[in-house]
């Protein structure tokens, strides 16, 4: 199979100009599996493989596409818990099941090859390996369809979670802090982006004023929006909305990062169907158009980025995105950045200057009306904090807002363009969507 590195698809440099396929690629369907906290290790109908098949079927059904029409599969083939997933990510050494669940594939990992066999795709000609996470893979699929590498492409992001402690295996279970980890692990067994971003977040509070708990209105709003998302974890599992008091009295995970600033790992899968704008017009559901995609992987100056670095990175992300889409901040109606940790989000909001928010303005913006029915419906998806760590709410909500099918989350302001992402300040990707191709 093609390796992702064999196909030059990234838009990860400054000054690339307007994307050559702007408005010529569309998303014609999406499908979500149920979102569970964990797989129980017994019921194969709720396994990651079964959920991924279900998500693909739903995406194809929504687009009105048959399995024979799919000629591209872009599936993230790594585990969301990463190398430190431990017992929460690896099924082995437990015994496998009957095919197609006779290896880690279908249980903890999904790749295109497994899906082709399990679902019976016959005409797939683009099925890369080494596929990155959803923040970048949507760009990979957009470029592949735009370049004609494939015409009708399923983009799949499985997020598995087994019983056991998430990311508490591998080197995180080691009694020793080796290499660069000697500088971080003694302060707590943390995954990376919490530790990396808490320092610039503290610098942010010192530079611009305010305090950590000024994030409370934002986090609470994410939970509210999550309760308006029919497929999300929170709304389906009795997770109750939190109050300001709940937030401010909650336990520190990494002072001042609170437990409600962190998303909840889940077991789920999602699929999106990308195709050419021309084909999408004849499909079953209203298409939304890809106006640009962009990726970034900025090099750290030191082991610990500071606020200046984070602001420079997010400024560059915004500049790339706006240039490639031929748009500016005032043109973006829906803004769904990333919130895996709540402390990251203000950097994106200010970098992209959505609704005129400049550096240092985020906390005051959060304190205003950011509800979906208000004038500044920030992060209308509810993100990961409102729906669980699927990393897909940002994309699905953007599609729904542009289609006018977001239900109780439908914003009352104009909804003709949407920016969505899975990204950290240093690495990830953005996608600009439009209700119209131009």
């Amino acid at each position: 199979m093609t390796n992702s590195n064999d196909f030059q698809w990234r838009r990860d440099r400054d000054g690339l100009g307007v994307w050559e396929h702007r408005g010529k690629v569309a998303i014609a369907g999406y499908g979500h599996s149920p979102v569970d906290r964990r797989w129980d290790g017994e019921n194969l109908d709720t396994s990651l493989g079964a959920y991924t098949i279900l998500a693909c079927q739903k995406a194809m059904e929504q687009a009105g596409v048959t399995i024979d029409q799919v000629d591209g599969i872009v599936c993230c083939d790594s585990h969301i818990a990463g190398g430190s997933g431990g017992s929460a990510s690896n099924w082995a050494p437990r015994p496998y099941f009957a095919p197609p669940y006779d290896s880690e594939y279908g249980i903890t990992l999904i790749n295109a090859q497994w899906l082709i066999g399990a679902m019976g795709f016959k005409n797939v000609k683009f099925a890369p390996t080494g596929v990155p996470t959803i923040g970048e893979m949507v760009g990979m699929a957009s470029q592949a369809v735009g370049d004609g590498v494939c015409n009708t492409c399923l983009v799949i992001y499985p997020t598995g979670n087994l019983e056991g402690r998430y990311r508490r295996g591998g080197e995180n279970a080691d009694d020793y802090a080796r290499g660069a980890r000697q500088w971080t692990v003694p302060w707590g067994n943390h995954g990376g982006n919490d530790f990396i971003n808490i320092f610039p977040h503290n610098q942010y509070c010192l530079k611009y004023g305010g305090e950590h708990d000024d994030l409370a209105p934002f986090v609470i709003n994410q939970h509210k929006n999550g309760m308006l998302t029919p497929w999300g974890f929170n709304v389906n599992h009795g997770v109750e909305p939190i109050t300001v008091e709940d937030y401010k009295t909650s336990r520190y995970i990494l002072n001042p990062l609170r437990i409600w600033d962190c998303d909840r790992p889940v077991n789920a899968s999602v699929a999106y169907l990308f195709t050419t704008a021309e084909r999408a017009r004849d499909m079953k559901s209203q298409p939304v158009y890809v106006l640009n995609h962009s990726q970034h992987n900025f090099r750290f100056r030191t082991t610990q980025p500071d606020l200046d670095e984070v602001e420079m990175w997010t400024d560059r992300q915004a500049a790339r995105m706006y240039e490639g889409a031929g748009m500016g901040p005032a043109d973006v109606d829906i803004f769904n950045p990333y919130d895996g940790y709540a402390i990251m989000t203000q950097f994106f909001l200010e970098g992209f200057q959505w609704h005129g928010v400049k550096r240092g303005d985020a906390f005051a913006f959060y304190a205003g009306d950011i509800s979906v029915k208000g004038p500044h419906p920030f992060f209308s998806s509810g993100g990961n904090l409102g729906n669980g760590r699927t990393r897909s709410a940002m994309y699905t909500d953007s599609i729904e807002q542009l289609r006018g099918t977001a239900g109780d989350r439908q914003v009352t302001v104009r909804a003709e363009t949407a920016l969505c992402a899975f990204t950290t300040p240093s690495s990830g990707g953005w996608l600009m969507l439009g209700k119209y191709p131009s």
């Binding site: 964990r38 019983e163 109750e240 109050t243 709940d246 909650s250 336990r251 520190y252």
Partner: protein, 115 residues
């Protein structure tokens, strides 16, 4: 004086996520034996209270995990126990002078054994 028993929820009680091995009937038995019982979890206090209301069990306390110290201040007891499934439970228990026990059916000896 009696024993005080604090129950973690997730990974400890049968109604937790993930479910633990401590059943609500075991909690009821602990209360019936005269122990002071309550819950100590990262779940919001209101959510903990709703669990106990639904179960019909009157708890003496429902606190956040990092506020276990307030329980000792409020309730004089001969011995304090916290039952939980993580290192964090152990850390908070030991920091606040509670005996720490992993969720296990053997913990019933705490209340079946008497004072």
């Amino acid at each position: 004086m009696t024993k005080l028993i604090s129950f973690d929820i997730d990974g400890t009680l049968e109604v937790g996520d993930p479910p633990g091995c401590i059943t609500l009937d075991m909690v009821r038995a602990a209360k019936a034996s005269g122990c002071i019982i309550g819950s100590c979890s990262d779940r919001t206090v209101s959510n903990q209270q709703r669990i106990w209301e639904t179960a019909g069990i009157d708890m003496a306390f429902t606190v956040l995990k990092h506020q276990l110290d307030t329980v000792k201040e409020r309730f004089p007891a001969a011995d304090y126990y916290h039952i939980g499934d993580t290192d964090l439970d152990k850390q908070y228990a030991e920091r606040n002078g509670f005996h720490f026990l992993l969720p296990d059916v053997e913990v019933v000896q705490l209340w079946e054994g008497g004072d």
